[in-house]
């Protein structure tokens, strides 16, 4: 072939048709191959993971659901309703010289009384034992006996549920927190749903008047609602109050601090830097103790400032410092051209921030902000250190109650479940938001 022979070029260019991709890269097989079994190492990992799931999941499901007790109004409901008879069994053992010996032992046997549907399951298990005398092993024996399979006693949660949710809030006034949190949740869902009219107004309502109304509903003393001291607020309601106040307070404060830290004005910048760096370099527990002990020093003498308010201020400031750093990260990630374009169009600082910079920065920051919020929701459990009764504290009180001793598994399982539901919802919402706000750049 000579150097000038480049093949024939047709006078009219016609693109080749699109062909379907190879079968092994699409469909179920393609997915399995791509995701679970791409090479021997990943295949091995997949198999190990499947095995681990097989070992972990069935016992948990059995305990929490299949063998669990749900109905009843006292601990007795979780007691097995079958009788256990101790049978005498004769078993044989073998002596070192080869001769046999007979041994008498007791073995449990489950007997179902007449007319009773058993509320537990049991299995026969082989128990192995050794006969020893004066330190010498004489014989090995084996007996079979029934062992009742343990299940969760959710009756405990059912009975203590009110306290887990409301703490020591008086029984007849519990509708108040229910209404506030119910309405609050509905409004939040409304605000977060696309295409609903007046979402902005709902958001403003949630931000300003709602917390005030909520406060009076919780606290009472107006409109004929008896006063409930906030020392009695507790349980999940308190957890929600603390996280809601911390989140709604910390976001605007954090944005303000972040803008302040990037400000051209040295005094404002210095103040913001000191505030942020100080709060970020101190553990939250310290902040809580300081809120209890140090905050009153700054107030005029004689003012009483209740415990919950102090904790709320402490937590909000703490979270605001973290939010500020996340926001600053988002602001820095935006190209300088966005600022310049906004300025060149004549937008002033605040309009530029509100319309151009913050919407984009907040979008970049969603994952980080939501993980921060998930963090706050979980960190509220620390308030028990300063004597507030949040959900976890209420659960701990219940599991140490003499009447329900030994049911800590159920208590903590429930507690973990509630936290999971809240945190997982937040996480899913943030992922949805990320997808929605992605405008292809």
């Amino acid at each position: 072939m000579s150097h000038t022979d480049f093949g024939q070029t047709p006078a009219v260019f016609e693109p080749k048709p699109d062909l379907p991709p190879p079968a092994s890269t699409v469909g179920l097989i393609g997915w399995l191959r791509g995701n679970l079994f791409p090479d021997w190492f990943n295949s091995a990992l997949t198999l190990v993971a499947i095995l681990a799931l097989f070992m972990i999941i069935p016992p948990i499901v059995n305990w929490a659901l299949l063998d669990a007790h749900f109905a009843g109004d006292s601990r007795a409901a979780c007691k097995p309703n079958v009788q256990i008879v101790k049978d005498k069994v004769i078993t044989q053992g073998e002596l070192p010289d080869g001769s046999t010996m007979e041994l008498e032992a007791t073995a449990d046997r489950v007997v179902v009384p007449e007319g009773v549907t058993p509320n537990v399951r049991w299995t026969r298990k082989l128990i192995e034992g050794t006969v020893r005398a004066t330190g010498r092993e004489y014989a090995k024996v084996e007996i079979e006996q029934d062992v009742i399979i343990e299940g969760a006693c959710w009756v405990f949660i059912g009975i203590r549920y009110d306290q887990f949710i409301y703490g020591f809030y008086p029984k007849e006034e519990r509708w108040r927190p229910t209404v506030v949190i119910g309405v609050g949740l509905l409004l939040i869902i409304y605000m977060l749903t696309d295409g609903m009219p007046h979402r902005g107004r709902v958001a403003m309502f949630l931000l300003i008047p709602f917390p005030i109304i909520a406060f009076f509903m919780f606290s009472g003393g107006v409109l004929g609602m008896p006063h409930v001291d906030n020392a009695k607020w507790g349980g999940l309601v308190l957890t929600i109050i603390i996280s809601a106040v911390a989140i709604t307070g910390a976001l605007p404060l954090g944005i303000a601090l972040a803008l302040g830290r990037r400000s051209q004005m040295p005094i404002i910048r210095l103040f913001c830097v000191i505030f942020i760096e100080f709060l970020r370099s101190v553990p939250m527990i310290t902040i809580l103790f300081m809120a209890m002990v140090v905050l009153p020093l700054f107030l005029p003498p004689g003012t009483t400032f209740d415990q919950l308010a102090r904790v709320l201020i402490g937590v909000t400031l703490f979270i605001a410092a973290y939010t500020a750093e996340v926001v600053r990260g988002g602001l820095q990630a935006l190209p300088k051209g966005q600022y310049e374009a906004a300025e060149a169009l004549g937008l002033g600082y605040w309009k530029m921030m509100r319309l151009i910079i913050l919407p984009q920065a907040l979008k970049i920051m969603i994952p980080a902000i939501v993980s921060l919020f998930i963090g706050i929701f979980k960190d509220t459990t620390l308030v028990q250190i300063v004597g507030l009764n949040d959900l976890l504290t209420m659960v701990q009180l219940a599991v140490t109650d003499a009447q329900w001793i030994g049911l800590s598994k159920e208590g903590y399982f429930f507690c973990a479940f509630i936290f999971f539901v809240f945190c997982f919802s937040m996480s899913r919402y943030s992922m949805y938001l990320e997808r929605k706000l992605h405008t292809g750049h």
């Binding site: 051209g337 374009a341 169009l345 004549g346 979008k363 405008t439 750049h441």
Partner: protein
Amino acid sequence: MSEATSDLNGEVAVDRSKMTISDEVAIQIVGMHKWYGTFHVLKDIDLTVNRGERIVICGPSGSGKSTLIRCINRLEEHQQGQIFVDEIELTNDLKNIDTIRREVGMVFQHFNLFPHLTVLENCTLAPIWVRKMPKAEAEEVAMRYLETVRIPEQAMKFPGQLSGGQQQRVAIARSLCMNPRIMLFDEPTSALDPEMIKEVLEVMITLAQEGMTMLCVTHEMGFARQVANRVMFMDAGEIVEQNEPEEFFHNPKSDRTKLFLSQILTH
């Protein structure tokens, strides 16, 4: 680059009838200096731009040409001398800066569209929030200018879905929506693929034909020949030479200009 400009020379007939230059002064720069830290970027710049002038600024990178036009709308601050735009002096007075920015449109090398807003919203944002124009009117104006730049059908898309050339045309429309009296172009075609340069230049020619005062940093010499009434060469922070395009290209005075022209016109 040279391919697109030669296309332009061949195809587009430029109507110079409306490109009249009035005696009114649009921009006046007197003895202006600027430093970045200790680096002296602009040295003793004197420049008077009359209304209706179309000035092309060229020069090697780092010569200060972008900085010069960015000083005109205060994206960069000058440290010495005076800049007047529409007889308003640019100082630290925020009110003056805002007034001037409303009158001066700017188009950037990298478009700088707002990616979280649709094309239409990009165009209506400033009229609504800065000029306090009612939304319906702002949209009407925006659609008119999107037609001028020949992409009205993309109004509901996001910038990220458009090609570079389309994005730059949207950026021009966005500036025009503020109804500016002066337009600054900072290398508007340098970030574009060759096939897209032409569509942007055509829009700029349309603007020039309508009598817009334009300052344009570009290396599109075809555009300079056709549209500009003055070509300016900058190097090392100074205006080395300025002249009418014919004279500038065929009879450059300074050896620095000659060297620059030989480098950009022969590749």
